[in-house]
């Protein structure tokens, strides 16, 4: 590369870096891109199909499980804000855990019951039940020294081109958000409503299922559900959506 071209390339790289992130005030939830009918469906618990999962979760919450014969309700009373704080750093293991993994951790360590399979009906139901109690609260994940390596790893995944289509998350969800892909509005990709009832799925699914969807879309090999790479990306996405209100469990088209 000649000496004349190099500074221009650097300048371009800087400009690209500068416009990559969406300004805080311009962030919008995917909710605002939905039709009137789908929004109304989410807003009313009587029509939001995820209510069926929330009620299942409520029943599971009160049921004793495992050899310790403990129900979730025996230890936990106030769950407000819990979903808005995950993924969180777990000091005991030194790992980053999301809400699903926190529930399973409680199951295996305290209830001494087998862990629930990721994406199983029971785990989604419990996650939806816990998520429901943080609805309307601002997302506030911990951004500190101890979560920094995970946050940076998540950001790196978001910015890294991958798959046969050689696309990075940022190219659609930062740079081209609000434009259209095959007639469908590209959302900014804020994880404000998980677990979601997705009309396309005809059921409730987790953020990791949705991430897997995008990975397949760009023809990359998806990670396993609950993989550390997804949890790191989840932390970055939640940090990116910081202070936005949680809508869990939401409805998406």
């Amino acid at each position: 590369m000649s000496a004349r071209v190099l500074p221009w390339c650097l300048l371009l790289a800087l400009a690209w870096g500068a416009r990559a992130e969406i300004p805080l005030a311009e962030r919008r939830s995917g909710y605002l891109d939905m039709g009137q009918a789908t929004r109304a469906m989410q807003d009313d618990d009587a029509t939001n199909p995820a209510t069926l999962w929330v009620l299942d979760g409520e029943a599971l919450w009160a049921r004793k499980a495992g050899s310790a014969a403990l129900a979730c309700a025996d230890c936990h009373q106030d769950l407000r804000g819990v979903a808005a704080r995950h993924p969180a750093y777990d000091a005991a293991t030194g790992r980053l855990v999301n809400l699903e993994q926190r529930i399973n951790q409680c199951r295996t360590v305290r209830q001494q019951a087998p862990a629930l399979a990721y994406e199983s009906r029971a785990l989604l139901a419990l996650t939806a039940y816990v998520g429901r109690q943080s609805r309307g609260m601002p997302i506030q994940v911990e951004a500190s020294e101890r979560t920094k390596p995970f946050l940076e790893a998540g950001r790196a995944t978001f910015l890294r081109r991958q798959g046969q289509l050689n696309l990075a998350c940022t190219q659609c969800h930062d740079e081209r958000a609000g434009r259209r892909l095959a007639g469908v509005a590209i959302p900014q990709g804020h994880p404000t409503a998980y677990p979601i009832y997705r009309l396309e799925w005809q059921g409730v699914g987790s953020l990791h299922r949705r991430l897997r969807n995008c990975m397949i879309g760009i023809r990359a090999e998806p990670y396993a559900l609950g993989a550390p790479e997804y949890v790191e990306l989840e932390l970055y996405l939640m940090w990116r959506a910081r202070d936005m209100p949680l809508e869990s469990p939401g409805v998406r088209p």
Binding site: A46, T47, P49, L52, L55, Q202
Partner: protein
């Protein structure tokens, strides 16, 4: 297992139009899909929904394949007298769910 959510106002004035919303948890497997090994997944749907008001059927619906999972059925009826509204869903493989709500009409 068969979970349903029914929303009805608990009291109304005589002659008022009642807005009733019902949500039933069901996969509504169409019978047209195949597994990855090519076997057909048998049909498993809700086939009928009915609502009776003090024993008189006021609304019913036949459901068919290709209706959405967890069907939401919204309808209206006129509040005539105090009593109970009974809801019943029946379907393939012996599926049956029932729910009743009492309503006070002044």
């Amino acid at each position: 297992m068969a979970r349903v959510v029914v929303t009805v106002p608990d009291r109304a004035r005589r002659g008022e139009i009642l807005q009733i919303r019902t949500l039933a948890g069901h996969d509504m497997e169409t019978g047209f899909r195949h597994t990855q090994t090519g076997e057909r997944i048998p049909r498993d749907i809700i086939t009928r929904f009915a609502c009776s008001y003090n024993g008189v059927e006021v609304f019913s619906a036949d459901l068919h394949p290709a209706m959405a999972a967890n069907p939401l059925i919204e309808f209206t009826t006129v509040a005539t007298e105090s009593g109970t509204l009974e809801f019943r869903w029946t379907g393939d493989n012996g599926y049956s769910a029932a729910h009743s709500v009492s309503i006070r009409v002044d």
